[in-house]
């Protein structure tokens, strides 16, 4: 290292909670950077409230602060820690924005903190669109002709000059927030007003819809040496946000001239801007010439850079951190070969395909159309040696019930033309549908502008399916066709279904029949290495994928009984994200520490578990029965761990066991007894454990009868969903009727589970580890909200602060009974309801849960390490530590991404809606909740608060909070009913009229004019038939970026906390100081 001055201590800013546009990729980037700093002996300080990440685990950073990544808190940490350097490029836009603010306010200079890597001015030059265009104009590089405006009127004027369609973008935002296309002035009017709430400046540009979208990942060191690590081509043309697009790497339809023209431009740009480290350049490329435009440059690690790292094996974040310290590229080694230099460009000898994962079905009212704003919550990366293989794998990995490009449940598309030209999250399957209906590639191209090359390849899959359909028994498929199908990514399931057309009940058997015939014919897959150099040099790492397009393995299989397979979590989605990555990595670490070989299977490029140096062997491949069996056949493992990666591996347990794969820990049968509603209920009944009353019903009459028996409200869980969310709570017969007729179908084939819904009950979670049915360690946490808010959306308190000792005692007793009854060995989680010390079990999962990292880190006992040891049959030392000993409180709070999900109703219910979470520590409940709420984007309001507090009960619940606000000097505004109630109870509140009223002052005006600092809107009932007015208030609060709370208990907790504490009362304490 030839750095000018010695750097001894560095602060790294994390990205906070996972949200749409900023997800797990930054845990990966940050972890890599911290590893790189550690290698240099630098003391590292990490600020990140995301408690479920790997980077906030022990032994990664020297100090961890679970604090908001905002200028105030970072400044406090700087004052306390006095670092010499700060890294801004590894925590997404959150860290970058925070860093720019600290630079502008002079804080960095004041405390002598040097920004390592790309200088802040360069960051500003890329972030401010006008400056960016100016900068690129200086070197004659074409950008999209764009005009910065600060008023809606100016936007209209510019648009008229450019001609529609146009696109508008807001400066300084993540993932295209506040951006979109406008075909006419009316659309512009609406979108521009909204964009101005995110940013004082918006850009109006001519739309280049239909151009190819290409990205390059570029690296530069302080000696001006540059490399491009990877380029990527979007399957979807420009117009669809790259985070919403299927992406392949490397580009497939570019000639040498195009590839190298754009590569050369990327290097010219990065030099001119003065990046030191990594950056991403996005282009639009004319499909009919070599004309191009630069779309944007991201002067930081990004989702694309994480993808590029995984796609190539080149550790971008690690290298970027080293370059920030002053190294030259040529002074670093290639981490894969360990002999060649890091100053090179990976040669790929496979193709990767990234596919986004959407969860739009979880939201009410959201638009499913894809556009220039990101809505996906996760992604997968599939590796193959041809496009057909990669995309079919990828479509299975997405995990939404699809089996590849074909052999899926028929998708009903009313108007194929319309569906092709207005893409939704189902676009790829609409293409399959169109091809099957005889659409030509040319016609589909006209409607989608997806390059024909991709469409030809998809057509190949359809043609092959057609060929396979000619056979009606598995044994009659010719060997050559079977091989070709496997080479083009057909799964055994696809073959079985296409040939036998069997019912779902028989499919399992048929899959195994295909498998057996295949093996008899010698058609089995091969294992290849990702080695950065296309086999030119030997690789020292085991970064692997599975393919049928090969005739030899790259590796040997010791088969010595010392390998343990860990099944990872798959794509991040609502309900399963970074927390299971933490669990998977910790399981792999424990396996390694105990002298065994850890083998990870996972396919999510946003994770640390798919970092090839986290385990002995990484299979970047599918988590399907077929693929896990393939790998188990080759590795002959000691066993497979299915309980740390969430529901996907958990669901494989019984099926793997049936195929004689050893499952470590709790037996597959017992996992099934917990998963199967009937079996679990029966066990509870036998043990005298109470559950909310429920019934699985197949006729509407039965449902009404059950409703009469237990009364309303009821939780309805259909097995077949026509539209809208899968679960719902109904409060009366009318709602029940509405839901049953409109949203679901009830029949013998599609039973509906109806459960009694207990109002105003406490919800409590137990995370525990047991061995041979005996609980070794447990953590009990309580929710701030009452039961009815999905546990993933609830605010969790650990140790519990408001729970009866008797309740606690009873829960412990039940946990012991359940552990015994299910002979649990390994992790488990239970959710219970408590009302008046009566405990009812809602759910029990014999796997790690979302809250394992949270309770592990608060208690400072690694539950997964203990669980893994237990599953491996090793003695586990159990620390004698109880939650009662803690003199601090941990709070886990959800992060929502409603601002990205246009039109979605930002209300909480039984379906999970949050995309991420934070966990903060405080000396008491108030301090912890304040930190947590600020970490997920709330702020302490300045002066004006709008209350609209729902039904009588929640009005009463909120009264003391309103009194506290008044005492603290806040101005209270309220809708009519709430204002009346408050005024009757001695709290002054000014009336704001409902949005649909003509009367002034009006709620909507106040929100739009940003006169309100916090909106509390409590829905009147739990049903879907919400008053339009309430929806408008909530949605406007989101669209105009005003903090919104929709739960009375949470609102009270937050209000009491900030009324009681000032910002200065918040302690700047690192994790190890608690």
């Amino acid at each position: 290292m030839q750095s000018t001055e010695k750097i001894e201590k560095v602060i790294l800013l994390g990205s906070g909670a996972l949200k749409i546009g900023e997800a797990g990729e930054f845990d990966y980037s940050g972890s890599q950077a911290l590893k790189a700093l550690k290698e240099e002996g630098i003391y590292t300080v990490l600020i990140n409230p995301n408690i479920a990440t790997i980077q906030t685990s022990e032994n990664i950073a020297d100090r961890v602060y679970f604090l908001p990544v905002t200028p105030e808190y970072v400044e406090e940490v700087i004052i306390k820690e006095r670092p010499q350097g700060i890294l801004l490029a590894f925590g997404g836009q959150t860290a970058l924005n925070c860093g720019v603010k600290l630079y502008r306010s002079g804080v960095l200079e004041k405390y002598g903190v040097r920004v390592l890597g790309t200088p802040v001015q360069a960051i500003i030059d890329t972030e401010d669109r006008e400056k960016f265009v100016e900068k690129l104009d200086q070197i004659n590089i074409k950008t999209i002709q764009s005009h910065a405006v600060t008023t809606v009127e100016d936007a209209k004027k510019v648009a008229a000059e450019l001609g529609y369609p146009i696109i508008i973008r807001a400066a300084y935002t993540l993932g295209g927030l506040g951006s979109g296309f406008c075909d006419n002035e009316a659309e512009l009017d609406a979108l521009a007003s909204k964009a101005f709430t995110y940013s004082p400046q918006i850009l109006v540009e001519k739309s280049l819809k239909g151009w190819k979208e290409i990205e390059y990942e570029v690296v530069r060191d302080r000696y001006d040496n540059c490399i491009t690590v990877c380029n990527m081509e979007n399957f979807d043309p420009l117009g669809i946000h790259t985070g919403e697009s299927i992406v392949v790497a490397p580009s497939q339809t570019l000639t040498n001239a195009e590839y190298h023209k754009l590569r050369h431009l990327a290097i010219t740009i990065i030099r001119h801007i003065g990046i030191v480290g990594e950056c991403n350049v996005q282009y639009a490329l004319d499909p009919n010439s070599e004309d191009y435009r630069v779309i944007e440059v991201n002067a930081r690690l990004s989702r694309s850079s994480a993808l590029a790292s995984k796609a190539t094996g080149y550790p971008l974040a690690f290298v970027a951190a080293k370059l920030g310290l002053g190294y030259g590229l040529h002074e670093l080694k290639n981490s894969v070969t360990k002999s060649t230099t890091a100053c090179f460009e990976p040669a790929i000898d496979y193709i990767v395909c990234k596919i986004p994962r959407w969860d739009l079905g979880k939201f009410k009212g959201v638009s499913r159309e894809l556009g220039s704003s990101m809505k996906s919550v996760g992604e997968v990366m599939a590796i193959g040696r041809n496009f057909e293989e990669a995309i079919q794998k990828g479509l299975r990995m997405i995990g939404q019930g699809m089996h590849g490009f074909v052999a899926n449940k028929e998708l009903s598309v009313e108007n194929i033309d319309e569906a092709l030209s207005h893409p939704t999250d189902k676009r790829i399957f609409v293409i399959a549908n169109a091809l099957k209906h005889g659409y030509t590639v040319d016609r589909i191209y006209e409607l989608t502008r997806i390059d024909k090359w991709f469409l030809y390849k998809l057509e190949n899959i359809i043609r092959l399916e057609h060929e396979i359909e000619q056979y009606h028994t598995i044994d009659s498929i010719p060997e050559s066709l079977m091989l070709e199908a496997k080479q083009k990514g057909f799964s055994d399931f696809q073959l079985a279904r296409t040939v036998t057309k069997c019912s779902p009940a028989e499919i399992e058997e048929k899959i195994i029949e295909v498998r057996n015939r295949r093996k008899k014919l010698g058609i089995t897959p091969y294992i290849k290495q990702i080695d950065t150099l296309a086999a030119e040099y030997p690789a020292q790492t085991n970064y692997l994928y599975v393919t049928y397009n090969a005739t030899a393995h790259d590796i040997d299989f010791p088969q010595d009984g010392k390998s343990v397979i860990v099944l990872g979590s798959g794509a991040y989605r609502i309900g399963s994200s970074v927390e299971f990555d933490w669990c998977s990595v910790n399981a792999a670490n424990t396996i390694r520490k105990n002298g065994l070989r850890s083998i990870m299977i996972n396919y999510n490029p946003e994770t640390v578990s798919t970092d090839y140096d986290m385990c002995d062997r990484l299979y970047f491949d599918e988590l399907t029965l077929e693929r896990v069996l393939d790998i188990a056949d080759l590795e002959a493992p000691k066993g497979v761990i299915v309980s740390v990666g969430g529901q996907i591996p958990n669901n494989l347990a019984l099926r793997l066991k049936d195929q004689h794969v050893p499952i470590l820990g709790t037996s597959a049968e017992d996992i099934d007894r917990a998963e199967d509603r009937h079996k679990f209920s029966q066990m509870c009944d036998e043990m005298g454990i109470d559950q909310p009353r429920w019934r699985e019903l197949t006729t509407i009459e039965d449902i009404y009868e059950f409703a009469d028996e237990v009364g309303f409200p009821l939780l309805i869980r259909p097995s077949y969903v026509l539209s809208g969310a899968a679960m719902n709570v109904v409060s009366n017969k009318r709602e029940l009727e509405h839901f049953l007729t409109l949203a679901t179908s009830v029949s013998k084939q599609h039973p509906v589970v109806v459960t009694e819904f207990i109002e105003n009950a406490k919800e409590i979670e137990i995370d525990a580890v047991a061995k041979d049915g005996e609980v070794l360690i447990y953590a009990i946490s309580e929710h701030v909200e009452f039961a009815g808010v999905h546990s993933g959306d609830a605010t969790m308190v650990f140790p519990p602060q408001k729970m009866y000792v008797e309740t606690m005692r009873r829960i412990k007793k039940i946990s012991k009974l359940v552990a015994q009854g299910l002979h649990i060995t390994g992790p488990f989680n239970m959710q219970v309801m408590a009302k008046n010390n009566e405990i009812k079990v809602i759910e029990c999962n014999l796997r790690a849960s979302r809250s394992f990292p949270f309770v592990s880190k608060v208690l400072k006992v690694n539950f997964i390490e203990i669980a893994t040891k237990v599953m491996l049959g090793l003695p586990a030392e159990i620390p004698h530590k109880s939650a009662f000993d803690l003199d601090y409180v941990g709070i886990k709070a959800p992060q929502f991404s409603f601002s990205r999900l246009q039109k979605a109703d930002p209300v909480l219910g039984v379906e999970m809606a949050s995309t991420g979470e934070v966990g903060c520590l405080g000396e008491d409940f108030h301090e912890a909740i304040l930190k947590a709420m600020i970490s997920v984007g709330y702020y302490i309001p300045q002066k004006n608060i709008l209350l609209s507090t729902g039904d009588a009960r929640s009005k009463a619940d909120m009264l003391s909070a309103a009194q506290a606000l008044q005492k603290k000097g806040y101005n209270l505004y309220a809708t009519q009913g709430t204002a009346d109630y408050l005024n009757q109870n001695g709290v002054h509140a000014e009336v704001l009229h409902w949005p649909d009223s003509e009367l002034k002052p009006n709620t909507l005006d106040y929100i739009k004019e940003k006169k309100i600092d916090l909106v509390v809107n409590i829905p009147k009932n739990l049903s879907e038939t919400e008053l339009n007015n309430d929806y408008t208030i909530r949605r406007s609060a989101i669209d105009f970026n005003i903090p919104l709370i929709t739960n009375a208990r949470l609102a009270s907790a937050f209000i009491h906390a900030f009324c009681r504490l000032d910002k200065k009362d918040i302690k700047i304490k690192s994790w190890n100081e608690y």
Binding site: Y223, T255, S289, D451, Y526, E536
Partner: protein, 366 residues
Amino acid sequence: MPDKKTAALILEDGTTFHGFSFGASTSVSGEVVFNTSMMGYPESLTDPSYSGQILVLTFPLIGNYGVPGDQMQDGLLRFFESDRIHIRALVVADYSFKYSHWNAVKSLAQWLQENNIPGIYNVDTRQITKIIREKGVMLGKVTVEGTPVPDKFDDPNKENLVAKVSCDEVMTYGNGKRRIVLVDCGCKYNIIRSLLVRDATVIRVPWDYDFTTIDYDGVMLSNGPGDPQMCGATITNIKKAMEIGKPIFGICLGNQLLSIAAGASTYKLKYGHRSHNQPALQVGTNKAVITSQNHGFAVDTTKLDEDWEPYFINLNDGTSEGIRHKTKPFFSVQFHPEATSGPVDTSFLFDYFIQNIDQACKAQKK
């Protein structure tokens, strides 16, 4: 998709890879080499340096963007590196029967067939590469179903390949102010293009032509196939040019020939450098460049005359990537600054060559 005809790649050590044919129906023999670059097959296939070789592409998806038309520019085919395909056979993993690109006029298969070059797909190109990496380059045959199999493994390095690919007569391109002799040992068109854009007249001469008889401002020694020791005549002429003292710039084979003329020796690499991602460091600096390469032989600089010094070295394996004269305007590089295909990062060497020429001309005038 047409009816599948089987084909095979048979290596000298007996290893056989079975696949299908997509090129011409003919069987051939040659030296099997691999290239790890991810794009640029129209350029690679027409690169004369591949003469005599069976080319294995490690990037599996080939043929995606078809083959461009034969538009001319400055007397050269615009989209190719010479007037014909030089490889003996092409070996790929996944061939795209349908292509998509605005400037494509035919498929890769059609082009191979027109040029009577066999192509084989659906073979494990990574495994072939690993065999070559472990055992070194070896001879091989590509056989297509229904065609006679060559009985012997033909070693192209025993022939004078340069003589086969060089031009037959002197040809002149452009009308620029600098007169540059291009010694064509199997020259890629982009060397000519790179000089033409820099205001040069390019006088392309056959490999063994005594160009010192021509009035010129500088000498460009081109790339080319095979063993440099076959080019005795060229080396003799280079030595004469060194006496004349006008600027010399060598590329690839040109580098090897200049190095031999400067006292160095050459040797055959185990499996060569054929890729777009070879890192080279300018000796004595922190300047690292990513280069396009295609060579099987390399220069051993230990015996270089003392007036010469290493210019670039390979950052991966430390092999020589170029030499330069300590005082005179002579230099050469093992990589391809003209790129096509590959990165264009080292095109500054052409500027450097032109500067040398301009300085030499200025000095002469004085």
